[in-house]
Symmetry: C2
Subunit: 450 residues, 2 copies
């Protein structure tokens, strides 16, 4: 079947959906090829079910509840949770699908680029002006013996029941989130990693390390797993290059990064430049790949593999192609959150980045751990019952903010807008009035102390 | 006993403490007269124990917990809560007392102004250059028959157990907070009032009304209580001027505003100008009263009876007297929070105020109710399981923001700083990246829809 359209989008995840919506709104005719579920990783196997699982863990009664007077002996009906998660994800997916079919023709096959302006998808051959690659990424498995015994993050949403013992390989945000969540749900969790939240500010990373220990996670840093063996009883044994292997476990989760889904993008004679990790190489200003008229957005180009970046790239590219404006997305103040317990959030520069950029003597920081009122009834709060506030300042102007606490992912958003102004001086906060009693008061108090 | 000092402060609540700390830091010698507890209303009988009680209610397992899979049958040990609250408040008070004695001489008697520069407090006669009145306010009781059978907010922290039936007279923030909290803790609550959150934005007030009903509060608006009778069984009956009296109740809480504590400020021949409500009249630029060298800060002058305003006035006055700068406090962007369930928060202008000031045709609003992910597993969410986002815009610049949701009181803080810049255009938010999934994303989404 032959089709002609303005643009073919490969993939209906966060990036592809945002592009399709914006392009259609600007009058372009859009065909979307998606062999799997509309919504991509975020809705189906990432952010959304992860945050529901985070809510489940967050709501487990804690000693802070007991210290306030609540007495209970809760039990968890995992099948209720799975049904609720499936329904929520299913509803979100079907809403997105409904929106998508309103703005684009959807083909339920993978699209393959045969050449500039030519895409094949199942029975369809499509002629078009532009091609947009938005195929996303998938969990990357390390290469060592027995890695087939491990599962990846996607399987965590399909568990028949929470494991009693879980070993997680990798201390990035995905590893940290599942470690916190499963530990809070009662699993014995071991986290085996080179480092914890290595791309984040060092104070936030230390906070996270301490909070994981507070939850009873068995944390081994500076280690490199090199194999997994399965015993006759079914128990799994992770081997470490450094020796002194951890205790056996029931489930091994590998959370060692994500690989762009780019291996089957093009037909034989068509080539696209990929980097060493398999990410599609794009020009930052235009999001165009090495092939004219072929663009890439979202995790497949691996600029910053986050849902909001994928959405922003999709919208910006549509405007650049069919409206006005640049396809460039400013990633300088990309807020991001780690849904640990408590959650953490960051925007702007880490202290180390700021010192690199501006020089040690031009950077000031204010950093404080504190016990928020919600854990105030606990007599001797542990690190996981604390929160953190950190400002990174250059000539008194905020260039970075790093938070931990229940409100961190929500509060970081307007703080990111403040930082983007380039003129926000937290030292001036004291001229403003603060809501009392809130955790956010500490955004100001941390500076008063200095 | 004769004393000489730079300044005498009457009252060691939020205003007096902030003044004493700042004045001492600037080199002034300070005497503070406080016959009751250091910390004033906020720490001892207001914000702090109220927020602990709010936490207790917030943490009661709900149908959102059950929908996610948690099964429990919780019971509340009220005596544990009371001990925890007393310990927390006691610790906060004693920390403040320790800080205060480091910076001021504390006299545990009420100070009485005998004349400019002359204060008597118990055995002490104090000569000083400046006098600062910071005596705060106390709950106001309406005048009708049987009002002596009612209690005020302060008694809510001394309850032997939560009442089974509670009638609240007054729909301001205090009435709304206790109605939400006690209903959530299982009491049968009736709220009898002229209106709900009348000073707030109308959409927020409607949201609050609906949320109260969602919690099962029996809400009667447009009514005026005119008496309380006590039956032989001890039950209390509120009489309404409009007739059709509500059901009998166990406890009646009057939450009909607060009266400045100014009746015993001055000795016989000394006079101070008070307004009709008994508030000390001050000049806004200098915070000076009708008497030279005598100033008033915080709730006793009733400019805006909020803890952050009291603190800001205390700090500003100290700087004006002993450092540099004006005593004027800009109240334009005073964020405030109502700790209902969910909490609500506001900053800047209400829609009505903006229309008044700028004219109907120059004001735009964006307003949306939504179901946050934390209640997403509930099949048919009620109004108390929703949240609200509202922007008030003048020529596309944000002049007001009104929120409801668990994060509202924390998120409103940085939003208030954005509004204070006078140039923040929420329409530009879409250029910024948003953390996903968070409630704050809706700050932007509410505009996309428009």
């Amino acid at each position: 079947m032959e089709l002609t359209t303005d643009v073919v989008v490969l993939g209906a995840g966060s990036a592809g959906l945002a592009f399709a919506r914006a392009a259609s709104g600007l009058g372009a005719s859009v065909v979307v090829c998606e062999p799997h579920s509309v919504g991509g990783t975020c809705v189906n196997r990432g952010c959304v079910p992860k945050k529901l699982m985070h809510q489940l863990a967050h709501r487990r009664p804690s000693r802070s509840d007991r210290a306030l007077g609540w007495q209970h002996d809760p039990s968890l009906d995992w099948s209720t949770f799975r049904s609720a998660m499936r329904r929520y994800v299913g509803d979100a997916r079907s809403d997105l699908r409904d929106e998508l079919v309103d703005v684009a023709r959807v083909i339920e096959d993978a699209g393959v680029i045969e050449g500039p302006g030519r895409v094949r998808a199942g029975q369809h051959r499509i002629a078009c002006k532009h091609i947009v690659i938005a195929t996303g990424a998938a969990p990357r498995r390390p290469e060592f013996d027995g890695v087939e015994f491990a599962c990846t993050s996607e399987a965590m949403f399909e568990l028949e029941r929470p494991p009693e013992r879980l070993a997680i390989i990798g201390g990035g945000y995905i590893g940290v989130e599942f470690a916190s969540i499963l530990a809070r749900l009662g699993a014995g969790v071991q986290l085996l990693t080179h480092s914890v939240l290595s791309g984040f500010d060092a104070d936030l990373s230390r906070f996270c390390t301490d909070a994981l220990k507070g939850h009873g996670v068995g944390l081994r840093t500076d280690v490199e797993p090199c194999g997994i063996e399965r015993s006759q009883t079914g128990a799994l044994q992770v081997r470490l290059r450094e020796g002194s292997d951890p205790a056996p476990t029931d489930v091994v989760l590998v959370a060692t990064g994500r690989a762009p889904r780019t291996s089957e993008l093009t037909a034989d004679r068509m080539t696209l430049e990929l980097d060493d990790d398999g990410a599609v190489v794009v020009d930052e200003a235009t999001l165009q790949t090495s092939a004219s008229g072929v663009y890439a957005i979202g995790d497949c180009s691996a600029r910053k593999p986050l849902t909001p970046v994928a959405k922003a790239e999709g919208t910006a590219l549509a405007r650049a192609l069919y409206g006005s404006g640049s396809a460039e997305v400013d990633l300088k103040f990309t807020p991001s959150a780690v849904f640990g317990l408590p959650p953490m959030a960051s925007t702007g520069l880490t202290e180390a980045q700021a010192r690199d950029r501006f020089g040690d003597s031009n950077v000031e920081v204010a950093c404080k751990r504190l016990t928020p009122l919600e854990h105030g009834a606990v007599q001797d709060p542990g690190p996981h019952e604390q929160s953190l506030v950190k400002w990174v300042l250059h000539e008194q102007v905020a260039v970075g903010c790093h938070l931990a606490g229940d409100h961190a992912p929500d509060v970081i958003q307007p703080i990111s807008w403040l930082l983007a102004s380039g003129t926000f001086r937290p030292g001036d906060i004291e001229q403003h009035l603060r809501v009392h009693p809130t955790a956010t008061e500490e955004l100001a108090a941390v500076l008063d102390a200095g």
